[in-house]
């Protein structure tokens, strides 16, 4: 498949899968609360409606640029993430590039929300960046451990190593279970779900960064959420669950990652910001450091 076609198809596929993940999240939440939940077309209708709003409030140039930065950044990430049949730009950039690009949406949000000049938004962004410091440290330790274990940061090679030979014994989760567990915690915080949801906190700071986002801006953020769910779950699958031989196995694993996260979400209230940091720097970071030590022992042997 030509690279130009891949660059078109990869974001499209990611968006569609992300829509399905959003739907699954809402359906699971409804089931936990013993409701029926939204119909299957609901995420799409929400986005179409938001983009079809007749009036629109922009708070300035930075607000407009930042929202494009959010969407553009997350689409870039998708292009660097190999999926079955399409490797996109993943040969040109590695895991480090991917992690670097994954920061862009958060920074874009910070810039844009700054210009909306809403105090709730500023508080939300401050909390979001603090929480980021919480989950990025364990996540980076996990990624570093995985890179050490595989001996490469090339995502295609990581996939090849895990899919080599049999099915299970080369998977990251079997080879380095502690890192996989720690990364799952970090991924959960990365998705911004309870109990690490303090920067959204609708009842407290009115959805924080999203407080001034109306119409198309909110629609863009909804689209971003689809991409983010896809990116995070597929990245976890690539690093620890052996990726997918086909789209079917890939989606099965990616949906499982989101499903675990959603199930945990629904039974928790939210931690305060300092508790988020304390928890993230104690448990995932501790487990990840242990896992890193085990990986280093394995390599040294």
């Amino acid at each position: 498949m030509s690279i130009a076609l891949q660059l078109l198809l990869m974001p499209l596929a990611a968006f569609l899968v992300g829509l399905a993940m959003v739907l699954m999240m809402r359906k699971v939440r409804a089931s936990v609360e013993r409701r029926i939940g939204p119909p299957w077309y609901q995420p799409l209708f929400d986005i179409y409606k938001l983009f079809a709003k007749d009036t629109q409030i922009s708070h300035g140039v930075m607000h407009d640029v930042a929202i494009m930065m959010v969407l553009g950044g997350i689409i870039c990430v998708v292009l660097f993430l190999p999926v079955p049949g399409m490797s996109g730009l993943s040969a040109k950039g590695d895991l480090i590039t991917l992690l670097y690009l994954m920061m862009v949406p958060s920074l874009g949000m910070a810039l844009g929300v700054g210009q909306t000049a809403n105090p709730n938004g500023s508080i939300g962004i401050a909390r979001a960046l603090t929480a980021m410091a919480g989950y990025e440290i364990p996540f980076f330790i996990c990624v570093a451990g995985a890179a050490l274990h595989y001996g490469t940061t090339d995502l295609n090679q990581i996939l090849t190593i895990q899919q080599h030979g049999g099915h299970l014994e080369h998977w990251g989760i079997v080879q380095m279970p502690l890192l996989a567990v720690a990364a799952l915690f970090a991924v959960h915080a990365m998705l911004g779900k309870e109990p690490f949801e303090i920067y959204v906190a609708p009842a407290e700071i009115a959805t924080g960064p999203m407080v001034e986002m109306s119409g198309k801006y909110l629609g863009t953020l909804f689209v971003m959420q689809c991409f983010q769910l896809f990116t995070v779950s597929v990245l976890y699958t690539t690093l620890f669950l052996g990726g997918g031989f086909s789209w079917f196995t890939l989606l099965l694993k990616a949906f499982a990652v989101v499903f675990i996260s959603v199930l945990v979400t629904n039974v928790y209230p939210r931690y305060r910001t300092d508790d988020v940091l304390r928890w993230q720097w104690k448990w995932p970071t501790g487990i990840a450091l242990l896992g890193l030590g085990m990986v280093m022992l394995q390599i040294g042997r």
Partner: protein, 241 residues
């Protein structure tokens, strides 16, 4: 005939549709958009009165409004539908007007219970508002004191049908008849009343100007001169009309 005026949906103004509206492509997109709007209402509650009690059973597992795509939202920027659940005091009406003006069109207002229709049991009170639709364009009223969740859902379904068929255009009346609404607001809050939202500017920007957008009441806004310093807001707008 009663001697008091009967308020109905104001008649649509005759105007020349622009090319985009006339094209098949534009009309198709708008038709789909109307359907999506009807099936994806983001709700903002203004819970001052007892009507708020009836919303939790509507939202949660007993009746589950998410089945028809309704979700609670927490800021006016994100919301489509403003629920006024019960009586409004003069003081809270100011906040409701501020909230309403921050919402993005198409936006809808629903009045809950007899308090919003005619003052209900607070009719004799000096501090409450008798009729909501004097101050804001209301799309749907629910009668009752208070309406049961079944009645609320019935009203939601009717509103959805109205939106789906493209008839829920009341929000445009706020721009087209801004002078009328501002006059009613000034009668209640005093001549000095104004909101930080530039409704006239928005009406001009989105081509929602009507014959009653400007008038004697909006003329009183000129002295605040917030958005067009030095040139006199309303005069400048009138030239561009």
């Amino acid at each position: 005939m009663p001697d008091y005026p009967i308020y109905r949906d104001p008649p649509e103004q005759c105007r020349t549709p622009d090319a985009e509206e006339r094209s098949l492509w534009g009309r198709t997109l708008e038709r789909i958009a109307d359907h999506c709007r009807a099936r994806s209402l983001f709700v903002l509650h203004y819970c001052t009165g007892c009507g708020a009690i009836e919303l939790p059973p509507s939202m949660t597992s007993r009746f589950d409004l998410e089945r028809v795509g309704m979700q609670p939202m927490v800021t006016p920027r994100q919301a489509d539908l403003l629920l006024i659940t019960g009586y409004l005091s003069v003081k809270t009406l100011k906040r409701v007007i501020l909230t309403y003006e921050q919402m993005q069109g198409p936006k809808y207002v629903m009045g809950f219970g007899s308090c919003t229709i005619n003052g209900g049991m607070y009719w004799n009170s000096y501090a409450t508002v008798k009729r909501l639709d004097q101050y804001l364009p209301v799309d749907m009223y629910i009668a009752g004191c208070m309406p049961r969740p079944e009645a609320i859902q019935q009203a939601f379904l009717q509103l959805m049908e109205k939106i789906d068929s493209g008839r829920a255009q009341n929000w445009k009346e706020y721009y087209r008849r801004y002078d009328h609404y501002l006059g009613e607001q000034q009668a209640l809050f005093g001549e000095q009343f104004h909101t930080p939202t530039d409704v006239i500017g928005e009406a001009r920007h989105y081509s929602l100007f009507g014959p009653e957008t400007l008038g004697e009441h909006t003329a009183k806004l000129a002295k605040y001169d917030l958005y067009h310093p030095g040139q006199g807001a309303v005069d400048a707008l009138e030239v561009k009309r």
